[in-house]
């Protein structure tokens, strides 16, 4: 698989009245061709900022302090506004959270969809509208040809999000960025939209970055998952690795706090407290203050990425070979059992035996260019 997008050591600050917010603190990840990468995190974790920066849509008071974003080998951060305009909606397009505000209420939908085509290529008005109708059919707007002249308010919320998707995919983008595209929708509509995205991905052969805070959605759509906390990626791996073999206590907390239909215990597991302020990010592991497994070193030094497998890395001192073995929370222990069943070759081995050898750790740290 080839990497279509690579983000390296990204650091972004925002200047606000209260002080400088270190919104993105050394984030690196990549996107393979044809895959769906889900970025999970709470509001304020920096997932939206990262993706807006990829689109060249960083707010005015934001400043990229360091890092590069390579799209097909070219650094997006070095592109001019004109080059960015040529890229947006064409090579990379974005679906926003709220279908109400991402469509122009005063323009018929046919024109809105066709307009994207006409911006990025010379095409006659009529054939643009024909193409618009075809794509609208593709995203599931029935009898699209007859509805080209309808206005957004004549469609339901789910249909509007389909139109937004049509606008995003009409130029066959190489990357589709979806910023919580289903959060504003009802569950039944959400299920339809997620199915649609999955179908489209194979039909138009695009890569998707999907931001959400809903782990249920992630489990259904992602190939790989990156978990963000306080402006950093703290764990990433394939969807199975994250859901069944998570290593970071924050990922555990997220998985535990979702009630599954089997949950019958009296209390849900809740991560205590609130995320830290990024004006003065805490020393050490940013999650330490809310972490029941926090060790002394967590409050002193920031953990590097430890390698769990070729695709799975986690930034937690628990993976250090000298760290004591911990007792997993029940929900995580249950998930690890599933992991063992899925990977019989690991059966019999103690899970901790999988912990990286020191040299593996060294390799991981150097490849990830983890700063001190």
């Amino acid at each position: 698989m080839s990497k279509i997008l690579e983000v390296n050591n990204l650091e972004i600050d925002f200047n606000t009245y209260a002080g400088t917010v270190h919104a993105i603190r050394n984030v690196s990840f990549h996107l393979d061709k044809g895959e769906t990468l889900a970025i999970v995190g709470e509001s304020g974790s920096g997932k939206s900022v990262t993706l807006r920066t990829i689109m060249g849509l960083l707010a005015k008071n934001g400043e990229v302090k360091n890092g590069e974003i390579l799209f097909n080998g070219q650094d997006i951060l070095k592109k001019s506004e004109k080059e960015l305009n040529a890229m947006r909606g064409n090579d990379i397009s974005m679906i926003f959270q709220d279908p109400m505000t991402s469509l122009d209420p005063t323009m018929p939908i046919g024109k809105q969809v066709a307009e994207v085509l006409r911006i990025h290529g010379s095409i006659s008005k009529k054939s643009a509208l024909d193409e618009a109708a075809r794509v609208l059919e593709l995203v599931g707007i029935k009898d699209a040809k007859a509805r080209l002249k309808d206005y957004p308010h004549q469609f339901s919320g789910g249909q509007r999000q389909r139109i937004v998707i049509a606008i995003a995919i009409i130029n066959n983008p190489q990357i589709l960025i979806a910023d919580e595209p289903t959060t504003a929708l009802d569950v039944t509509i959400q299920a339809q939209i997620l199915n649609l995205l999955k179908e489209l991905q194979t039909k138009i052969d695009t890569s998707i970055i999907f931001i959400t805070h809903d782990l249920g959605v992630v489990a259904g759509i992602a190939d790989r998952v990156a978990v963000m906390y306080a402006g950093k990626i703290i764990e990433y791996g394939t969807v199975d690795e994250i859901f069944y073999n998570a290593q970071h206590p924050y990922t555990w907390g997220l998985l535990e706090s979702m009630p599954t239909l089997e949950t019958n215990s009296d209390r849900l597991h809740a991560i205590p407290g609130t995320p830290p302020s990024l004006i003065n990010p805490p020393v050490g592991d940013a999650f330490a203050a809310r972490n029941a497994y926090a060790m002394k070193i967590d409050t002193e030094q920031e953990p590097p990425f430890f390698k769990v497998s070729d695709t799975h890395y986690a930034a937690t001192w628990l993976l250090h070979p000298e760290a004591p073995a911990v007792e997993f929370p029940p929900e995580i222990a249950r998930r690890r059992e599933v992991w063992k069943k899925m990977n019989p070759q690991l059966a019999g081995k103690d899970p901790e035996a999988q912990a990286p050898a020191p040299e593996a750790k060294a390799a991981a740290s150097s490849t990830e260019k983890e700063a001190d």
């Binding site: 569950v187 039944t188 959400q190 805070h213 782990l215 809740a270």
Partner: protein, 316 residues
């Protein structure tokens, strides 16, 4: 309802809520719904946007004047009370609401202390200023916030903290009955669990009754004793939480359940959403809530009862 042992706290009978009645733009938000809420239980009210679930909550707490029907609270018909009357003020103290949007539900120009004490002031529940401050401090501690923050303004708090301030405001008047209108849907996952746990704890401590309105079915199942499913302003199914989840009878409920995303990739790979075709409701047959198995009600026409009974039997 069937269970005679439990004491009914709220009884909604044939409630209808129309907006702009008789005009061209009439909206029939709620059409003839009836249900009881027992003392000390949590009734979950589930439905998608436009189903009338929020309107139901607001009609019961009399933010709207119901078009038709009765709402009995401890035997008094709330639907007929005049705003500002003595009985109404008493009802306002007994019943409280927790709102959806932690950003819109707190007045940005008021200190947290005054937000929480608003009800205390209205109903004269504090002897003096010191007593008022003490009550506020207790409430803040109860919801897990630092009492030293009482003099701060809402915008300094995070979404989860604000929602807990909203809960403290509702608890300040020592209500019996709390309507929670999607109290967690605007919060992050890790914070949702905090708020739900807090609501459960308080319920046990103070023997509260909840009407929990939500569209997130997994949380509702977790917090509710019984669940009512709404669709297009009507109740379509009502039973215990386990029954509705494990033995759903109405096709709409089945469709809703099939759409819940589960944080488990294996389950997700196997998931097949069931689509619901609402047109089956519009065949002109008269439908009412029918008790299919004890305590399990479904909105059904005469001719459909046998089918539902067979379905219920097939689960056994």
């Amino acid at each position: 309802m069937a269970d005679e042992k439990k004491e009914v706290l709220v009884s909604v009978k044939h409630l209808e809520q129309f907006f702009n009645p008789g005009k061209k733009d009439e909206v029939r938000a709620i059409q003839d719904i009836s249900f009881d809420i027992y003392k000390g239980e949590t009734l979950g009210l589930v439905g998608e946007s436009g189903s009338g679930k929020t309107t139901t909550g607001r009609a019961i707490i009399r933010l709207y004047k119901p078009t038709n029907g009765e709402i009995l609270f401890n035997g008094t018909d709330i639907a007929k009370l005049r705003n500002g009357s003595k009985d109404m003020q008493e009802f306002r103290r007994e019943t409280q609401m927790i709102f959806q949007d932690p950003y819109a539900s707190l007045n940005p120009r008021m200190k947290v202390k005054d937000i929480i004490a608003e009800g205390i002031d209205i109903h004269h529940l504090a002897k003096d200023n010191a007593d008022r401050d003490a009550q506020v401090a207790n409430l803040l501690e109860l919801v897990g916030l630092n009492p030293d923050h009482a003099t701060r303004y809402p915008h300094e708090f995070s979404g989860g903290q604000r929602q807990r301030i909203g809960i403290a405001r509702a608890l300040a008047v020592q209500p019996q009955f709390i309507i929670a209108d999607e109290p967690i849907s605007a919060l992050d996952v890790s914070i949702q669990a905090q708020v739900v746990n807090l609501l459960k704890e308080i319920q046990e401590q103070r023997n509260l009754t909840y009407l929990f309105i939500a569209h997130d079915l997994s949380m509702v199942k977790y917090i509710s004793d019984r669940i009512a499913v709404m669709h297009y302003g009507r109740l379509v199914e009502l039973s215990t939480a386990d029954e509705v989840y494990n033995h759903p009878l109405h096709p709409y409920t089945q469709s809703l359940l099939s759409a819940i995303p589960i944080p488990d990739p294996e389950v997700e790979r196997r998931r097949r959403p069931v689509e619901y075709d609402a047109s089956i409701e519009e065949d002109g047959q008269k439908r009412t809530m029918v008790e299919i198995t004890p305590g399990h009600f479904v909105f059904a026409a005469e001719s459909e009862i046998e089918g539902y009974k067979a379905k219920a039997a097939s689960y056994k």
